[in-house]
């Protein structure tokens, strides 16, 4: 009987130690959440770019433009105040340079769609607000800001 009681006592002590250690960490809590990203594949349409230009732009420059075709929401890419006149429309094409060297050189741009017949085509051409696709030409006008930059412009088109 004494041996049996000793075994019980040992068992209780062992459990007590385990529970005590567990109790020290009993208040931690954890939460799991999701993370997501979307990789888009740009359609490079540089061969379709038609440059309406001043002499400075004809000398060439390097840069990228990002064109966002109409979708559900307003454009969210940040441009300079001079160029970023988007945001109020819900069906906006956003044309903008992705590097500063281009942004500093371009003072205005026009983007035209094959079936661009809406008022956006004529009322806000410099902001690149369009309401259809596909894009078949892009007109760009520039200031005299950069006469020395070389090579061509690459245009990247992605849907929202």
């Amino acid at each position: 009987m004494r041996i049996l009681f000793s075994c019980f006592a040992f068992f209780f002590r062992f459990v007590a130690v385990v529970v005590f250690v567990s109790a020290c960490n009993a208040f931690a809590d954890r939460a799991t959440t999701a993370s997501h990203a979307t990789v888009v594949e740009p359609a490079r349409v540089s061969e379709n770019v038609r440059i309406w230009t001043t002499s400075s732009f004809a000398s060439g420059m390097t840069g990228d433009l990002i064109i966002r075709l109409p979708a559900a929401g307003p454009a969210t890419i940040s441009l300079s105040d001079e160029h970023d006149t988007l945001g109020s429309g819900t069906s906006a094409l956003h044309v903008g340079p992705s590097i500063e060297s281009v942004e500093s050189a371009i003072s205005a741009w026009h983007a035209q769609l094959a079936d661009c017949t809406g008022s956006a085509c004529s009322t806000r051409p410099e902001a690149g607000v369009l309401d259809g696709n596909p894009v078949n030409s892009i007109d760009i006008s520039t200031s005299e800001a950069d006469e020395t930059s070389p090579t061509n412009i690459t245009v990247i088109v992605t849907y929202n």
Binding site: F5, V15, F20, T32, A34, H36, A37
Partner: protein, 152 residues
């Protein structure tokens, strides 16, 4: 005597001694979103705890709909707690292409600087850096991660 000892042990097992009236708890309100981007030759997309996102390398952030993950931590009012974030390269986003690892998880508050308000809760936001591969295949990538909070 022996019976009293046994009763005391049972009581202790059922009601462990604690200095906290309430257990700390955390719940998720929204996921961590890295937005949409063109991968190019690769780079990173970083989302700060404030929800700002930026790309590096050849990555072009196309739609800046990034968002930090948001949690709510609850527990004893005014108590401090620490936040345990996932280690680098421990969390991956899987999709049509190669897995993309998330590194440099950051949070606000961070480390042991969490402190519950007078009402016993605090908002916690978590950001991170997504590592994008060269010519990462287009498509949607998803993954999960877990964070742990505990009283200091």
């Amino acid at each position: 005597m022996k019976r009293n000892f046994a009763i005391a042990m049972i009581v202790w097992l059922i009601f462990p001694i604690s200095t906290h009236a309430a257990e700390i708890a955390i719940s998720n309100n929204s996921p961590l979103a890295f937005g949409s981007f063109a991968a190019g030759s690769g780079g990173t997309v970083t989302v700060s705890p404030s929800g700002m996102c930026s790309g590096s390398g050849d990555v072009i952030v196309v739609i800046a709909d990034c968002a930090a993950a948001e949690f709510t931590v609850t527990g004893d009012p005014n108590f401090t707690y620490f936040i345990d974030l996932p280690a680098d390269n421990f969390v991956t986003l899987t999709g049509p292409g190669s897995d993309m690892n998330i590194t440099q998880f950051t949070s606000n508050p961070a480390g042991a600087n969490g402190q519950l308000g007078a009402g016993g809760s605090q908002n916690l936001t978590v950001g991170g850096t997504l590592n994008v591969g060269n010519n990462q295949a287009p498509g949607s990538y998803t993954g999960n991660f877990t964070i742990i909070v505990d009283y200091n």
